[in-house]
């Protein structure tokens, strides 16, 4: 058990800077997920923690010790790979015990640990099989078992669920969470799937272009994104962005979307954006669930407007609607009984209590 600290970590490959100075503190027992699009440096960061990549500059500490020049085997970490990386010529038990056997653990101890991990992962009856006789999900369990038996300071997961089909992925996600609840080992988990990040993490680290965009709890990132990238990356369907400008109408702060559509801001929001320049191009960020059918008795801060739908997607418990506003395609979520269908006119309402205002140039959420 240990905390992991990264201080100004840089990774440069010849001319390309894959990781551009990362600072990250991961507490003991914490489950941290690094998430971002491909090429954002998340896997490189994980591999640097593992010791599989040298760091160009900065410091990595595990349990308070700087491990920059410590070989992987002496870092006391365990890693689960995307393609499982099981040893094909060994049985499940041999795969799981390989590390312990190399360290010359007593046989009884090895057997005890393997049995314990196999029970925990529900693979006890597969213990004598070879990897090729296992399904993808079972292989991934074995790969996790191989990590668990080592009782390492830190677990590292490199997109472990990407090779599984959607249904199995959901199941394994829960499995990983259960394992973490039992063993409480500090975990760093890399994925490009924001749903995986949100569901698994104590804290999510959103990365982009080799930098950390934002660190926070899943709810924190969802409700208070710091940048346009985080706002657009977290949440599915993604947040809508509509060009807008602020203006004062009769002493009250309004947000104008089109020539036709302008809404007064609710008092809390108006106070927050008081200092923002008027009549400058801004972006309004609104999550789909804050665009819904207009109700007969509107709440304060919820403003109605009329539009014509382009496309609707019935999902069963809700219907996703798409329409165009100022050239931007907007997604909303309405009740399946609200009468939304392709090409129909509809009266919608936006909940401005949950709006975000973004600087269009810098992408910073104000």
């Amino acid at each position: 058990m240990a905390d992991v600290t990264l201080r100004k970590v840089i990774k440069r490959y010849d001319e390309v800077e894959a990781v551009r100075g990362i600072d990250l503190d991961i507490a003991d027992h914490e489950f941290v997920v690094l998430v971002g699009p491909s090429g954002c440096g998340k896997s490189t960061t994980l591999r640097m923690i593992a010791g599989l990549e040298d760091i160009t500059d900065g410091d990595i500490m595990i349990g308070g010790d700087v491990v920059n020049d410590v070989p992987p085997k002496d870092r006391d970490i365990a890693m689960v790979f995307q393609n499982y990386a099981l040893y094909p010529h060994m049985t499940v038990a041999e795969n799981m015990s390989f590390g312990l056997r190399l360290k010359r653990f007593p046989k009884a101890e090895i057997k005890m640990r393997v049995d314990e991990a196999a029970r925990m992962l529900d693979i006890a009856e597969l213990i004598d099989r070879k990897p090729k006789q296992l399904s993808g999900g079972q292989r991934q369990r074995v790969a996790m078992g191989r990590a668990i038996v080592r009782h390492p300071k830190v677990f590292l997961f490199d997109e472990p669920l990407s090779n599984l089909d959607a249904k199995l992925r959901v199941q394994m996600r829960i499995e990983i969470k259960k394992v973490h609840q039992k063993v409480r080992t500090t975990t760093v988990y890399v994925t490009h799937d924001q749903v995986e990040a949100m569901t698994l993490a104590d804290r999510v680290v959103v990365m982009n272009h080799g930098r950390i965009e934002q660190i926070g709890t899943p709810n924190d990132l969802y409700h208070n994104p710091a940048t346009r990238f985080v706002a657009g990356f977290i949440g599915s369907p993604a947040m809508n962005f509509v060009p807008c400008r602020l203006e004062d109408v009769a002493g009250k702060l309004h947000i104008r979307l089109t020539d036709r559509i302008a809404f007064p801001l609710p008092p809390k929001r108006a106070a927050r954006y008081q200092g923002v320049a008027r009549n400058e191009k801004m972006l309004l960020g609104l999550r789909p669930e804050h665009i819904a059918e207009a109700k007969a008795h509107p709440q304060p801060g919820v403003e109605a407007f009329d539009t014509v739908l382009d496309v609707t997607e019935p999902m069963g418990m809700e219907t996703l609607i798409y329409f165009t506003l100022e050239g931007a395609q907007i997604c909303g979520r309405v009740n399946p009984n609200a009468g939304a269908h392709d090409g129909a006119p509809m009266r919608l309402a936006v909940d401005l209590n949950n709006m975000h205002l973004l600087n269009e140039v810098t992408g910073v959420v104000l």
Partner: protein, 304 residues
Amino acid sequence: MASTVVISKGAPTRTVKYGSMSRDRIWALRWSYFFLALFAIFSLVPPLYMLITSLKSSAEISAATNPWWVFHPTLENYISLLTSNQFLRFFWNSAWVSIVVVTITMLISVPAAFALARMRFWGSATLATGVFLTYLIPDSLLFIPLFKMFAVVGDWTGIQLINRWYVLLLIYPTLTVPFCTWIMIGYFASIPKELDEAAIIDGASWFQTLTRIFIPVALPGLIAATIFAFTVSWAQFLYPLVFTTSTDQLVLPVGIITSLIKGDVFNWGQIMTGALLGAAPPLIIYAFLMDYYIAGLTAGATKG
């Protein structure tokens, strides 16, 4: 009457009813069997002729009878060869040289291939290509300079290497090591990178990664390389012909030619028997290792 009509109508529609795919497949099969038969005849006729001739007496070989039939089968050729100390000496020399050469080759080429495939170091890619290029130089060009080299070494150090069977232990690896290294580089390169990374994180040293992960996983490649090295050293003719001359130093292929052809007298029966007996060990080794080779291939061992 009615029922027979039904059957005779039903039967042809059922037999013809194999879509276009299976019709293609049948033709593909016919062609493959045709060529398979052609190649089988082509490659099996010479050993068959050897077998037939080895069972004949010298008199029957020179008689003007059907050469493809044995009228008076005899084992006299086998008996005289297998009781001849000279022939057994050739056999022993060949076996000893081949086994040692295979061992030397594997001890050099497997670690070399591992280093070239996995430990990225300065110039490793160039070196890997260089290894292959050395194999492309025909060995028939090299025997004169090599002979000269060993002669010079003999003059300078007094270590006599020419006309000693163990000189072959130095020469054959120059033929086998480059190619075996090349084969093994290919096999090692096909092993996913994550496998050695997993081993490294599990605490394995480079040497343990090689012996406990790479060698078992690349076993089919290792067997292919072993078969190649054995075949090269067992069947090599030019080098032993040049470098060894005394009868007690000869290996089997050269020994058969030098001892069984006396001037213009060809002892065909014994030559054929000797060739057949000489072909047996590689055949046995192939038969034995092929099972592992194919089993290893079909297991898809490298897919994690």
